[in-house]
């Protein structure tokens, strides 16, 4: 696999210096740009890249471009910026079909006008695209309650290097015809094809919502209270544990070292009951309840915290939820941290200088079933880190899948797990 260094003329459009800079990935600059107008156009463009062959980095809103290893090579910036249409939306069917380049905030606005939403809340929705959310498998704070991208994508159209556009799934919420190739492309970082269209399930916006904070001196009881609630029938829509620094980075201050922030959603009486239950759980765990009068942007800040810009490094540990209390109790003090106990996710922000030792430490804490990835880092830091960790046991199959769908290795070469 890999792209031959060729002297042939690259396909695509000329690119300005400003655009080059805007579309740089890990300090590498593209030579040309392609911005197809629809799925078929994307297929034709990819075919040209494959014939050259030219290395393609796929661009959506660019909010997750700091994820993954640096590309081995970067010739063409392949952007979905012109593919922004809402192709179909029937509110009574609770389904829609959108082009990959549609911004999440635009989609949510269209759904919201009908009292509906996609219950996924990846960071920076005003920039992030639907296709990018699928490719990077970005999930926000609601994942324990509402599931992840894989639970809401019901169909997909993908452009392949062969030039073909192939679909899988469909437009209905229940469908078992053919292979579920949606799953293959979710989180594949565009290494198997370019996601061109996405069919989604949506849901009604809950009729009631509330936020509750519980303050604690140590992480363990805050996490325990969060888990207790998450295992109950009235599970919160979001349960996050923030250390004091992370809370401050999200725009709030507290005298306590750890804060359990709960977002409750549902029918009005359900939210009332969930609030009573949550107050009880916080007090039983020794915490202090704050009936929060929070700035409206608080949850947005918590959501966006895990996709930082600038010099910050974000490490993400994923582990079985029962391992989270132990992991939370051993977090290095140099990190600021947001834990989603019920999702089994611990996000740590560290300075570039301490990224390597913290990564090593957290990997040793995460245990056999845990995984730690560098979710966001500047290029200079990445070169000294193993961003994905060791390849998983199914890796030979993954590499064979890559070979089957992208035989010339033109798609995001080198960015994914194990150098795929």
């Amino acid at each position: 696999m890999g792209v031959r260094a060729g002297a042939t003329v690259l396909p695509g459009h000329q690119i300005t210096v400003d655009e080059q800079r805007r579309l740089s990935v890990d300090d590498l600059l593209p030579s040309k740009i392609m911005h197809p107008g629809d799925a078929e156009d994307a297929g034709r463009g990819l075919r040209l890249c494959d014939l050259t062959p030219a290395a393609v980095v796929v661009w959506g809103g660019g909010t997750q471009m700091r994820l993954g290893a640096p590309p081995r090579r970067y010739d063409i910036a392949f952007s979905t910026e012109r593919m922004t249409r809402l192709l179909e939306y029937e509110p009574a069917d609770l389904t829609c079909r959108v082009e990959a380049g549609m911004r999440l905030s635009d989609l949510q606005a269209a759904l919201g006008a009908q009292g509906q939403r996609l219950p996924l809340d990846p960071p920076h929705p005003e920039r992030a695209t639907v296709g990018g959310m699928v490719a990077a498998n970005t999930n926000g704070l609601g994942r324990a309650r509402y599931g992840t991208v894989r639970d809401w994508v019901i169909g997909i159209a993908v452009a392949y290097p062969s030039g073909k556009v192939a679909r899988a799934g469909g437009k209905v919420v229940k469908n078992v015809a053919g292979y579920d190739l949606m799953k293959l492309h979710i989180g594949a970082l565009g290494t198997l094809g370019v996601v061109a269209e996405v069919n989604l399930k949506v849901q009604a916006i809950p009729e009631s919502e509330a936020t509750l904070l519980g303050h604690f001196e140590t992480a363990t009881p805050a996490v325990a209270a969060g888990l207790l609630l998450a295992r109950s029938y009235l599970a919160p829509a979001a349960a996050t544990v923030l250390d004091r620094r992370a809370l401050w980075e999200c725009g709030l201050t507290a005298d306590w070292r750890w804060t359990l922030a709960l977002k409750l959603e549902g029918y009005a009486r359900e939210v009332d009951a969930a609030r009573d239950q949550a107050v009880g759980a916080i007090r039983d765990a020794g915490g202090r309840v704050e009936g929060a009068d929070l700035p409206a942007t608080f949850w947005d800040a918590v959501r966006d915290w895990s996709a930082p810009d600038g010099d910050v490094v974000l490490l993400r540990a994923i582990a079985p939820i029962a391992a989270i209390p132990t992991l939370s109790g051993a977090i290095p003090s140099e990190a600021s941290v947001i834990i989603q106990p019920a999702a089994g996710v611990v996000d740590l922000r560290v300075a570039p200088s301490s990224a390597a030792p913290t990564l090593q430490r957290v990997r040793s804490l995460a245990g056999d079933e845990g995984q730690v990835v560098v979710a966001s880092a500047p290029a200079a830091v990445k070169s000294s880190l193993d961003v994905w960790g060791p390849p998983p046991p199914g890796f030979p199959i993954m590499r064979a899948l890559k070979q089957a769908l992208d035989p010339n290795g033109i798609l995001n070469p080198g960015r994914f797990v194990g150098g795929i």
């Binding site: 029937e90 509110p91 009574a92 069917d93 389904t95 009292g115 599931g147 894989r150 993908v158 392949y160 073909k164 556009v165 192939a166 899988a168 469909g170 209905v172 919420v173 229940k174 469908n175 078992v176 015809a177 053919g178 292979y179 579920d180 190739l181 799953k183 293959l184 979710i186 989180g187 849901q203 009604a204 009729e207 295992r231 109950s232 029938y233 009235l234 549902g266 029918y267 009486r269 359900e270 009951a273 994923i318 079985p320 939820i321 995984q371 990835v373 994905w388 960790g389 998983p392 046991p393 199914g394 890796f395 199959i397 993954m398 064979a400 899948l401 089957a404 994914f416 797990v417 194990g418």
Partner: protein, 467 residues
């Protein structure tokens, strides 16, 4: 071959006697085909060794466990070895701390929820065949059931297979629903969830299926998402009432069965709100089950619907099409027109909430030409589901039955990509060959009983048939 397989699993658990193997030639679909050898491995390692022996010798492998497939998914159409998971039926771990359970593929779906119940949890996907079908089979077909509307289907509840991890491509998600054509699953991690405190069930009576269908869309538009919305048409109601006296009114044109989960005050409130929407949208009567006994009575009619059909007809052919729920009225009208035109009675009892239709065509297999005519009707119905923006299978799988119909929803390009993916796992097409993909012209190979044979036996024996 037999001797080598016996070396792996033991003398008793591999056999090739045609009489003994008869049990393994069919499932709940009309097609049958005899395997050459049946193997009953006891461990994951034995499964791996059996598969290795078979693939090294280029012998096809077909997995089965509950064999309740309505699409011929477990019929060994190219002969070869059938691996049945009858001995791998243990729940390996129930881990309420992590909200998960680890099971072997042969665990019966209902057995898992029964084991979880004393702990206050359950496994959400509940195909109507849940007393017979297994989690392994559910994974193979990505099985659904009446409660998928709110809780989703099998893939939404399977977090791992004995092949996959959270980093890298999602092989678990890829393999769920692949009908045993890429790999055999030997261990399954599933999500478990707390039992709902209360389930409120109500029945709404309508003059016709179109009015009932529009009521379904109206309910969804209010923002209430019931756990289940099931519909039965006039013919189904009459059959059900004759068989089980569920309390459905005989003069109704359609009955909706709706269920909401929740804490008591919320379930009560939602039940009342749904009742109002039902009435506002043409229901002549709405009845809310007052207690668990009344709730069970309402569900008993629905769950026994298919066996009740035995009272109307000696044979029936079940389909599994899906349409967007807003297309239900026009699709049901078109199915009705097909029935009028062909003279075959067609019943509709189905998951209305997610547009998953189960038209049943009633026929007599011993009348020459009827079976062929019914297959043609099935084909026509699936085509119109596809044209309405739907699918040719919602939960039963493509299997053997619908491998040509898959062309109604996928182009050659779509299927070519799927085939490439399949060959990564199974380069020589030995895993459950002849399923899902069209075009190789294979026919069920061995003994072929009159269509409807197995079903006729089952109905006569008083067993339940499910969908």
């Amino acid at each position: 071959m037999l001797a080598r397989l016996r070396d792996v699993v033991g003398e008793r658990y591999a056999f090739a006697d045609p009489y003994e193997m008869r049990l393994y030639q069919y499932d709940a679909s009309p097609e049958t085909a005899l395997p050459e050898i049946v193997v009953i491995p006891g461990t994951s390692e034995e499964v791996a060794r059996v598969v290795k022996i078979c693939t090294d010798a280029s012998v096809p492998v077909t997995a089965r466990s509950g064999a309740s497939s309505l699409a011929g998914g477990t019929v060994p159409v190219e002969g070869g070895v059938v691996i049945t998971f009858a001995r791998m039926d243990r729940i390996l771990e129930i881990d309420t701390e992590n909200l998960r359970a680890v099971v072997q593929p042969g665990v019966v779906n209902l057995a898992l929820s029964q084991a979880l119940k004393p702990l206050g949890y359950y496994y959400a996907p509940d195909p109507s065949s849940q007393g017979a079908c297994t989690i392994g089979g559910n994974v193979a077909t990505n099985a659904g059931g009446p409660h998928t509307l709110i809780y989703g289907v099998t893939v939404n509840h399977v977090t791992g297979l004995e092949v996959a991890l959270p980093i890298g491509y999602d092989l678990t998600g890829l393999l769920v629903g692949s009908e045993g054509t890429m790999a055999l699953v030997t261990r399954i991690w599933v999500k478990i969830q707390p039992l709902p405190p209360v389930q409120k069930t109500l029945m709404a009576v309508y003059p016709d299926v179109a009015t009932a269908s529009n009521a379904v869309s109206a309910i969804v538009r209010t923002g209430i998402l019931p756990a289940a919305i099931e519909m039965m048409d006039k013919l189904s109601i009459q059959a059900i009432e004759a068989a089980s006296h569920a309390g459905y009114p005989l003069d109704a044109g359609a009955v909706l069965l709706l269920e909401v989960d929740g804490i008591p005050e919320v379930a009560q409130e939602l039940g009342e709100r749904m009742a109002k929407v039902c009435r506002d949208n043409g229901a002549s009567e709405v009845r809310i089950a007052r207690d668990e006994q009344e709730r069970q009575a309402l569900w008993k009619g629905r769950k026994g619907a298919f066996s009740a059909m035995g009272r109307l007809s000696s044979d029936f052919y079940v389909m599994d099409g899906v349409v967007p729920r807003t297309k239900l009225p026009e699709t049901l009208a078109k199915i009705d027109a097909i029935s009028e035109r062909t003279g075959f009675k067609i019943c509709n009892v189905f998951h209305a909430g997610d547009g998953n239709l189960h038209p049943l065509v009633l026929f007599d297999a011993f009348q020459p030409g009827q079976y062929e005519a019914v297959l043609a009707i099935g084909d026509e119905i699936l085509k119109l589901c596809a044209q309405a923006g739907g699918s040719v299978t919602g939960e039963h799988g493509i299997g053997l039955e619908k491998r040509e119909n898959i062309r109604y929803v996928f182009s050659d390009d779509d299927l070519e990509v799927m085939d490439r993916v399949r060959r990564v796992f199974d380069p020589h097409i030995l895993m459950n060959p002849g399923k899902i993909f069209p075009g190789n012209g294979l026919q069920p190979s061995a003994v072929r009983y009159p269509p409807g044979y197995s079903r006729r036996q089952a109905v006569a024996g008083g067993e339940d048939l499910w969908v």
